[in-house]
Symmetry: C2
C-alpha cells in the first residue's frame, strides 16, 4: 500500500514553523507498517492544491491531508476537493450541531464563518473532532482513500489515532498491525542490534531500531488476523527482549526517564535533591517539567562557582584546592551535603567540563564526575555513597543532556534496587564506537 | 521567481526525524524575498527521484535539493540527476583532492566509496563543502536552477549561506536583498504591528512580523541595486524601529535572551544567583547552556519544597504559613537571600503555580511572583529590591518558559539600568489578547 502525506499552509512554506505534523503522520503509518512514499507541503493556493490532489490520487493508495479546514477564507481544502473531484458540497446537520455545541461549551458565540466547517464533498464520511471545531472527512476517489484532517497538532493526532488508523487497518485487508516502543538507555545501538540479532524476526513480530539521543528505542511490531493475535505476539517478543536486556529497558512508549523517576519515587514516597555543577540546573529542570514532580523532588543547588560549592554545600576549600572542582571527592561531598541539607532520601551530584573550553591534559573537556548519596529509608536498608566518572566526547549541549540522563538513570536504578552503572558505549550514527567509561565504580561504603 | 525545496532520505519519510532542513531553506529563501511554492520529501528511490526532479524543473525557477550526496549506495542524487537530464558524470580532480585532504585532516584513511563524491553531472558547477566530505553542485536545466546540497544540517546551512544565496542574488537580476531580525519581548504581536503600522514599508525597506514564543520577531528586509544601498536602507529603518520600541528590542539575529544576559553581565563583571521555585531550574539551565556562563553565573537554589525555602533560603516558617509559598514576601526573601548566600550582585527569585493542578480561587493556576534583589556594585549605585506578579494563562511548559524569560529580561534591564517591567500583553496566534499583568510594581526601597 502506497501512502502519501500532504500538509497545507503558507506558514510551513515560509519556514516559519518546523512542520512536525508530517513526522507524526509518517510514524503512525509506520505503526501499521504502511510506507509513506511522498511528503509534500503546499500553500493555501487553489491551483497548487488542485494539482497536488490530482497527482496524489493517481500515484497513491492513501492520502493523508492536514490543514485548511478552519473557518477563515484561507481555509479551502474542502472546497478544492469538491471542485477537483466534481463532488458538490452538502451540509451535515450533525456536524453543524457539534460545532454549535463546541462554542456553547466554551461560552462563546459561534461565528457565521464556522458554518462552512459543516459542509463536506459528496460521498464523504465525516470524522468528528472532539477537541476542536474542524471536523475531518474520509473519501474514496479513483481507488485512493483520502483523509482530510485539521492542522492543529493536538486535533490531528487524536483524529489520526482514533478514526483514521482503525479505518486503515480495515483497508489493509483485515490485517491487524500493532507496535510497541521499548526505551533503552546505556547501551550503544550496534551492541543492542547484535544483542538482539537472533530476535530481529520472531514469530509474527519483529524489531526495528531507532536512536533518539541519548536513548536507543526498540519498536516491536506485529501483524496478524486479529488484534488479540498481534497483541499476544508483541507481548511474547517484549517479554523475551526484556529478559535479555534486563534493566537497560527503562520505560515504554512516550515515558521519558524523568517521568519514570517521578513515578518510581512517588510510588516509594522517596525524595530527591540534586547538586549540579556542569549540568547547571538541567536535572532539576527535567524533573520539574513533569506534572506532579513536587511529590518527590525537594529541590537542588546549582553550584556553578567554586565559592557556591563551599558556602552552600560545605565543600572544604582545601578539598577544592587539592583535587579541583571536577573531582571525585568534591562530587561525593556535594551529593552527601545536598541530601542532608534538603532532608532528602537521595542526593545526586554532577561536576564536569562540558566545554567548549576549560579542559586540561589531565582533565579533558568531556570529563564528568557523578555521585549519589542515600540514607536508610524507603528505597534502601542502609545508607550509601556511590560515585563514578566518565569522559563523554560530545559538544556542550549533548554533554549536559547525557550527564543528566545518567543522573536520572541512577535515580531509577536506586529506586528499583539495581546496580548503579553508567553508559558503557555510545555509538554515533555512522561513526565509530568509543569507550566512554573511565575508571571503576567506587565501592559503596 | 518560483522556488521549490526537495529533501531526500528514507528517515524523513518514516517520520524518524522531524525534517528541519526544509524550514531552514525556506527561511533563507524568504530572506531574499523568494517565495517557496512547494516542499517535498521523497525516499532514496531512483524512480521517485527521477519523477520529482522532472516535475520540479517544469514548474519552478529554483530547486533546492538536500540529501543523497553521501558515499553510501543509498546516496544516488548525483547519479539520478545525471540520468534524468542526460548529463554524463565527470570527475572533478579538485573535489577529489579536497575529500582526500578532509580525511588527512581528521587522520583517517579515505575509503574508496568516497571517490564517487567527486563526480558531477556535465555542466555542473561544484559547490565546495569546507566542513564535510560531500561537495554540492549547481546546474541549470530547462531554465530551472538546481542546487544540490548535503543533508547534514550544519553542512547544508553553511553551503546555503555562503554559496547558494549569493548566486540567487545574482539570479534575481542583480537585485540585492538583505534582512535583519530584531528580537522583542514583552509586547504582544498585535500591539507591535499597530505600533509600527506606519513603518511597515518605508523607503526600500519593509517589516514582517513573526512570533516565536515567548518572543516576537521583526524581520527588516530591503532590496536594491547594491549591497551598500540595501544595508543603508536597513540601518535607517532599524534605527527608527529601535527608537520607537526602545528597550523592547533585546537583541538581533540569533542572540537569545540568556545569551544577551551572559554578554551584558560579562561586560559589567556583575554576577547573578537565582532562587527558583516554579521554574524549577529552567533559569539556571538557560544561562548555563550558554558557553562562558561561568563568567557571570554563580549558581542557584531550586527550592521546590517549602522546607527547602526555609532551610536553604531562610524564608521564615511564619511567613510561609501567613502568606503561602506563592506570595510577594516569600519571593522577595528568596531573591534577597540567594543574592547574599552566593555573594552575587543580583538575585532573582520565582515562585508560582505552573499547573496543571495546585490552583485555588485566590491563587489561580498561572499566578507567579517574581523578585529581584541587588546590592550596590557594578550595575547600580545603591541596593534595591523589586517584585511583581502576573497571571499567565498558559500550560505548564509555556508558563515556565514565559516566567523564565521575564526573569532573564529583568536581568537584562537591570544591567542596562532600565525599568523592571513585565510583559503587558500576550496575543495568542488567532486568539484574543489577554491582560497578563496583575498588580502594580512594588516600589524600590
Amino acid at each position: 500500500m502506497k501512502a502519501e502525506i500532504l500538509t497545507i499552509g503558507d506558514e510551513v512554506l515560509r519556514g516559519e514553523i518546523v512542520d512536525s505534523n508530517k513526522a507524526l503522520l509518517a510514524q503512525r503509518l509506520l505503526s501499521l507498517d504502511i510506507e509513506c512514499h511522498y511528503q509534500s507541503s503546499i500553500r493555501d493556493d487553489r491551483r497548487d492544491m488542485d494539482e497536488a490532489f490530482s497527482r496524489a490520487v493517481e500515484r497513491s493508495d492513501v492520502l493523508l491531508v492536514s490543514g485548511g479546514l478552519g473557518p477563515t477564507r484561507d481555509d479551502i481544502t474542502t472546497e478544492v476537493i469538491s471542485e477537483t473531484f466534481g463532488r458538490p458540497l452538502f451540509l451535515d446537520e450533525a456536524s453543524l450541531e457539534a460545532i454549535r455545541a463546541f462554542f456553547r461549551n466554551v461560552d462563546r458565540e459561534m461565528s457565521e464563518t464556522n458554518r462552512k466547517q459543516a459542509f463536506f464533498p459528496e460521498g464523504a464520511e465525516v470524522l468528528v473532532n472532539p477537541v476542536g471545531t474542524a471536523p475531518g472527512f474520509a473519501l474514496e476517489q479513483s481507488g485512493c482513500l483520502i483523509f482530510c484532517m485539521p492542522g492543529v497538532p493536538r486535533e490531528l493526532s487524536l483524529m489520526m489515532d482514533e478514526q483514521v488508523l482503525p479505518r486503515l487497518e480495515d483497508l489493509a485487508g483485515g490485517t491487524r498491525v500493532r507496535a510497541r516502543i521499548l526505551r533503552t538507555f546505556g547501551i550503544g545501538e550496534s551492541s543492542l542490534e547484535s544483542e538482539l540479532s537472533d530476535l530481529a524476526r520472531k514469530g509474527g513480530a519483529e524489531i526495528a531500531f531507532r536512536t533518539t539521543f541519548p536513548d536507543n528505542l526498540l519498536r516491536i511490531i506485529a501483524r496478524g488476523r486479529s488484534t488479540s493475535e498481534v497483541d499476544m505476539q508483541i507481548d511474547q517478543l517484549v517479554e523475551v527482549v526484556r529478559e535479555r536486556l534486563g534493566d537497560l529497558v527503562y520505560a515504554e512508549e512516550d515515558e521519558s526517564m524523568a517521568s519514570t523517576v517521578v513515578r518510581l519515587f512517588g510510588e516509594r514516597s522517596a525524595q530527591i535533591a540534586v547538586a549540579e555543577s556542569c549540568t547547571g540546573g538541567l536535572i532539576a529542570q527535567s524533573l520539574t517539567s513533569i506534572p506532579g514532580a513536587s511529590g518527590c523532588f525537594l529541590g537542588g543547588v546549582v553550584s556553578y562557582a567554586n565559592r557556591a560549592k563551599e558556602t552552600l554545600l560545605g565543600v572544604p576549600e582545601s578539598m577544592l584546592a587539592e583535587f579541583g572542582a571536577v573531582s571525585e571527592p568534591v562530587a561525593r561531598t556535594m551529593a552527601e551535603q545536598v541530601r542532608q541539607q534538603f532532608g532528602a532520601d537521595v542526593g545526586v551530584a554532577t561536576t564536569g567540563i562540558s566545554g567548549p573550553d576549560g579542559g586540561t591534559e589531565e582533565k579533558p573537556v568531556g570529563l564528568v564526575h557523578l555521585a549519589m548519596s542515600w540514607g536508610p529509608g524507603p528505597g534502601s536498608a542502609s545508607a550509601g555513597l556511590h560515585s563514578d566518572h566518565f569522559v563523554f566526547p560530545l559538544d556542550r549541549q549533548r554533554h549536559r543532556v547525557l550527564t543528566t540522563q545518567v543522573a536520572l538513570d541512577w535515580m531509577r536504578r536506586w529506586a528499583l534496587g539495581l546496580e548503579l552503572v553508567g553508559p558503557t558505549l555510545l555509538r554515533k550514527r555512522g561513526g565509530s564506537s568509543a569507550p566512554m567509561h573511565r575508571g571503576a565504580p567506587a565501592a559503596n561504603p
